[in-house]
Amino acid sequence: MLITVVIGIPALYVFVKLFDGPGESWAHIAEYLLPKYVKNSLYLALICAFQTVLFGVTSAWFSVRYEFYGRRILEWLLILPLAIPSYITAYAYAGIFDYGGSLNLLLGWFSLDVGRIDLMNINGLTLILSISLYPYVYVACRAFFLHRSQNLIDASQVLGKGEVQHFFKLILPMARPAIVGGVILVLMEVLNDYGAAKYYGVNTFTTGIFKSWFGYREPETAIYLAALLLVIIFALILIEQKQRGTRKFAINGGSERQLQRLKCSRLKQIWVTTLVALPVFLGFIAPVIQLVYWAVISYVKIDWIALLHVILQSLSIAALAAFCCVLVATSLLMAKEWNRLNWVNQISKIGVLGYAIPGAVIAVGVYIPGLYFDKWLIDFVGQTFSTKIGLLLTGTVMALIYAYIVRFLAVAFNPISASREKIQFGLVQASQSLGKGAFSTFIKVELPLLKPALLGAFILVFIDVMKELPLTLILKPFDVQTLAIEAYQFASDERIIEAAMPSLLIIATGVLPIIFLNRLVSKS
């Protein structure tokens, strides 16, 4: 209960501020910039939604429906673009398509010249975001396709429909909830993105928040923008729930047969392989090659000791945040279980909304109430104990960790809660009938069973924190540096080549756990 309230503060604060009125430069922003923010953000969201569906749905469908060369590897390679934060993909592509960039260099060997392909605009940005975010749609659809289709495809087939008709008349409309679920995640990420939009010079809501914060030095305006963005996001969630309405897409009862893979001719297999490999190449392989190339040429410039310092800081912050997130998520879950009151359940839902709220909004929502809290605490301690203390929350690692928990709690909560639901209630009852109380049942029975889920949740939050940029940028203490910030700063200082090494390190920390998780999943 307390946790939920504490988690809810930033969002609530930002929302309340909507009625408080903005700062001085609001008039200027509203007149000149806001229409652009709205237009750009919506345009980005729309085009990205379309493109990620295109990439995600086709790759998911082909990978579950057909047998083709390299399917096993490609199946999980398709997830890997998630390991690269979109701002890093953006940097890499800027390098690939620049004057004298890798593409020109490559084509130069064949005496071809395409000149400069300008990617540094809003359309380029949609492409970058789409190739780095489509795995959300892919993962959601894949799970859906795998388990829910064969019986219905059989039915469609005996009713005289062919493969193409199955897909368009049956699979696509039925997969709508899965697709929408994936797309919503994509949209959250798109609206959350700061690094890529900033680098490509596209003004969005999130860059606007930063501009009013750091540029105009007007937190009120930043908050006002954040609140507006929040409204848009909640509208989005509402629309999604509304359009789903009362229709059920789940299939009634019965044993569902797994989808059978179709075997096809060699030529067709090559086609499918190429098609499925394309997003992997664009979203992962190409940017990684570019970064490796940069890392190699900037090798001598790297200050290894400083870098090591950043790595250690980054890893420990991420580990600490992930640990706290798992802890909070688990206690929230247990509180929900032990307390049979319905309203507690309802409240716990609010606690996990954080992921929907852009990092910049949370940062603003943490920073300003934190400041008030610190002022109050300093006065209070000063009066009662006559001692002076420094700022406790603002500009400290504590605030940063708190903000991470607010933002990533859902990432930890969902897998743990899903895994908890799979534990038979009988086990808990059996333990209770053997004389164990709720707490010792939890320690002795549930915790061991939840272990893989807890580990998975830890890893997911860990990766997310490693990648996180906008929130960290606003809240980090001066003396703290993370790999993400390092990469961002090099890139903004036009020292993009030097951004390669920290970027590669972030990617590595993302890829290794994914491989590990993949092993874990395929084993069980």
Binding site: D154, A155, V158, L159, G162, P173, M174, K248
Partner: protein
């Protein structure tokens, strides 16, 4: 002949599981058939082979004298005009009832009329705009039937059509479905593990076991002249009659035959062609019948009778014509 199947084989898991083993059969137009068998008997696989949802390893299937399946040729399911009603109905959850029924109808003109006609046929007029999850299980069943009938198939296969329904609804729907199919005149095949269902809805029953076809016959023949003890056991409890027990009844059987009697063919009033002394171990009342455990010599077995025995020492008897005699290979 509408459908003929010749020496069909199908195995799964690289030959480890023989789902269908050397099955040959013929189905006539306009008749109703039942594939009867336990789970794993191959009845569903056989149906899926006929529908074109699986390819056979060997053998051929002809529909209207046209080859539709062999080891080298496979007419895809969507071109066969064979209807299929799936066990769990497989209604498309995102489409309305009307759209579900319309799904398989090709050609635009007359589509709507055909849908209305089908919904009328299955007594679901006015339900067209609802979604599958908004109607009951029995109604879903009829929608599945309407959908399968809508493209006007030559043959319709129904996979365990009543297994999801409770007993009362099952009997009601069984009659309904049977009437609907009779009205359309389509050749129908019910796949079921329930012998009562099979008898009630078909002109001929085909009993399958471990991928093999044991017997194809009308319900009456099947019941009275089962080709093996396995077939007989689908309908009745059999009492094994070893030679020594037969001797007690003063019946002298042949050496290489195995003898059985249905448990309700014993008479406890002392009538019958062959009789023996028996002591009653116990009597259980099962409603309209009594289950009586008796001891004849050293053999103990249970028989079923409408009237309970009057004393603890009785004569039990049976008629010659009721005795079931099989070769050993038919009495596993």
């Amino acid at each position: 002949m509408l459908l003929s199947v010749d020496h069909l084989y199908k195995s799964f898991n690289l030959g480890k599981v023989q789902a269908v083993y050397d099955i040959s059969l013929q189905l006539e137009a306009g008749k109703a058939y039942a594939f009867l068998g336990e789970s794993g008997s191959g009845k569903t696989t056989l149906a899926r082979l006929i529908a074109g949802l699986e390819c056979p390893d060997r053998g051929e299937i002809h529909l209207n004298d046209e080859l539709i399946s062999s080891d080298s040729y496979h007419l895809p399911a969507e071109k066969r005009a064979v209807g299929f009603v799936f066990q769990h109905y497989a209604l498309f959850p995102h489409l309305t009832i009307a759209k579900n029924v319309e799904y398989g109808i090709s050609g635009n003109p007359g589509k709507r009329e055909r849908v209305d006609e089908m919904l009328r046929l299955v007594n679901l007029e006015g339900y067209g705009k609802r979604y599958p999850h908004e109607i009951s299980g029995g109604q879903q069943q009829r929608v599945a039937l309407a959908r399968a009938l809508a493209p006007d198939p030559k043959l319709i296969l129904l996979d365990e059509p009543f297994s999801n329904l409770d007993n009362h609804l099952r009997q009601k729907l069984r009659t309904e479905v049977f009437t609907i199919l009779q009205n359309t005149g389509v050749c129908s095949v019910f796949i079921t593990h329930n012998s009562e269902d099979a008898m009630a809805i078909s002109d001929e029953v085909l009993v399958l076991r471990e991928g093999k076809l044991l017997q194809q016959a009308t319900p009456t023949v099947l019941y009275n002249q089962p080709s093996s003890s396995y077939v007989a056991r689908f309908f009745d409890t059999l009492v094994d009659l070893p030679q020594a027990l037969l001797e007690s009844f003063e019946y002298h059987g042949e050496k290489n035959k195995i003898y059985f009697l249905k448990n309700h063919h014993f008479r406890v009033d002392g009538s019958g062609d062959f009789r023996a002394n028996a002591s009653v171990v116990r009597t259980l009342c099962l409603g309209k019948d009594y289950l009586v455990e008796v001891k004849v010599g050293e053999y103990t077995f249970e028989l079923s009778t409408p009237k309970p025995p009057e004393s603890s020492e009785i004569y039990i008897g049976w008629r010659q014509q009721d005795l079931l005699i099989f070769d050993p290979e038919n009495s596993r």
